[in-house]
Amino acid sequence: MFEQLFLILPMAIVVMGAFVLLLLSKTFSLDKLNLVAVFFLSLSFIIEILRFGTTTVCYSFPEIFGKMYIIDDFSILFDLMFTAGAILTLLINTAYFKSRNYYNGEYFALILFSVFGMMILAHSNELVTAFIALEIASLSVFALVGYHKYNKVSSEAMMKYMILGSMTGAFFILGTAFIYGAVGSTNLEDIAAYVNVPAEKDLVLVLIGGIFIMVTILFKMGAVPFHSWVVDVYQGAPFPVTMFMASTFKIALFAIALRLSLIDFASLNIVWSEILQVITVLTLIGGSFLAITQKSIKRMLAGSSVVHSGYMLIAYSSIGLGSDMAAPAIMFYLISYFLSAAGAFGILSFIATGSKKMMTYEDFKGFSERRPYLSAMMAIFMLSLSGFPSTIGFLGKFYIFTSAIESGQILLAGLGIVTAFISVYYYFKLIAMMYFYPSTDQQKKFPFDFSGLLIGVMAMMVIWGGVGTSLIPFIPGANGLIDIAKQAIDSLQNVL
């Protein structure tokens, strides 16, 4: 009984934290609420980190929940990323939500609800549970996007995201219905068992269902035919929320996508890798156009996040073509993108604390003179996002392209490299703006604070992840990270 409870403890802590925050939201100040939220998240984070690599694959309360709730290294690694993402989002933005008057106590509860949904999503071994978990995560994010409700842009972003998001969310449940119609169960293992027995005619329904589910996942990822919301929503949302969406919510979708394609539809992957290839090409090209044409940094990062989805889709489409590296490569890329994007958005929101204007490229002219440390970190994140060697972004792209070439998708890998070069343009433009133009403002003092320190640590990790080996114990470098990713994927495949 208590062992079983211990297995679900991390999620329970997060959701209990959300309840506690709701209860406290009227009495505590924002600072204290922030700390309470971070406390609950870190508790969950610590438990997960202790558990990683030590537990075997098991189900929680199998006699009550059936096989709906699975615990393996794969889901624990994702849990770690979700909680870490939320903690970073909350800590880096401590100053930000004090500078805006539209924040209130429910903000933290919604973040915790969203994290809870993502964690359940990573652990769910059953499609209906996955759908509900996905909706918990998305509904909280919808509300967070519209948090600045007296701002037209924010409200518009929320409406756009909510209407499109709920409509595409319906596809998930429709796909589940089709799969249930064919298989007679929504449990992933039952589906895998059904799919692995070849009976061509009956697989059509499963395929259609799978495609519907993919539509939902691709929409929330922002892949190109479904990308129309990305830039507006990222721009309309308050900075911390944008950071949360780009770094944490995006990862959650790969949790379910990877689980589906590695367990569920493993033998069908070959069928839709063609569809995925087309979507990948569109995403890479369309995302690049989106990113190039933007003037505001926030919009540029939003556009480029589409491109990063494209890179991950390259590896995702290679899973079906027999590359062992593909799935670990996605995991690694997720970690690398998480670090770099969270850092970049973190700096933006850090700067936005003091000023309320739109941040365009122009605003960054001479930034290195005003805030030399911050601009150095920004440069590091930009280098990592563009995939410059000696940063974690380079290794991520390296693994992705290796896996694509391994599985024979030379053209896709080539296109990926071309878009990586294109991305150099819009990322380096920012670096150029910061370093090669004189400052228009007077030099100010740069106060030391916790958010800055945290961003600095992230910048260090970006570098360390790119060059480091396991020299320093407990902090995994490049080798360590890919080993962790492989271990997680292995735990997933051991089920069968």
């Binding site: 959701v15 709701l22 009550i64 929940f65 059936g66 709906m68 709730y69 008057n101 539209y102 209130n104 429910e106 903000y107 509860a109 919604l110 609800f113 969203s114 809870f116 949904g117 359940i120 059953e126 209906v128 549970t129 509900i132 978990a133 909706e135 918990i136 509904l139 909280s140 919808f142 509300a143 967070l144 519209g146 948090y147 409700k149 007296y150 929320m158 089709f178 119609g181 064919a182 007679g184 005619k201 009956d202 059509v204 329904l205 259609i208 309320k356």
Partner: protein
Amino acid sequence: MLENSIFVLLALFLLLGSAGMVGFKQTLFSAISFMMAMLALAGMFALLDNSFLFLAQIMVSVGAVVVLSLLVIVSVNVKEENLPKEPAKFRWMLFAVVLVAPLAIVIYKALTYMPHTWAKTGEGYGSLKMMGMTLFKDWVLPFEIVSVLLLAAMVGAIVIARKEPSNDA
């Protein structure tokens, strides 16, 4: 035979209601078409001998969801001339239909390939006891986390809808 004709009739109402929901310009008519579709869906449940789902569908979808949407329509009270102009609406809908048609054909084909053996419904199918057992035994995890979903949605909705003084409005 009677079942089949009732099914066809209900399906017709379901389709008409859904089409009306999308097609009407006035929100009031859309809501009523939606109600019609929901009633037809409830009829489908009745046809499947599941009396609980039939009434739950009527009470929840018809009795609550549509009434709430009507409440929203009343509170917003949109005049017809203030609705957005959609000159090529039906052309777009036709386009969408053409776009989806191949998918529909594939689904139809796939369904005809399905084996024509019907699953036997067990003893007491459609009874309250069966529904309760299904919900609280086989599907207890999704059933319980739905409560978190509703709570999160409610908190989000209240946060968005609540009026509070704001300085940089």
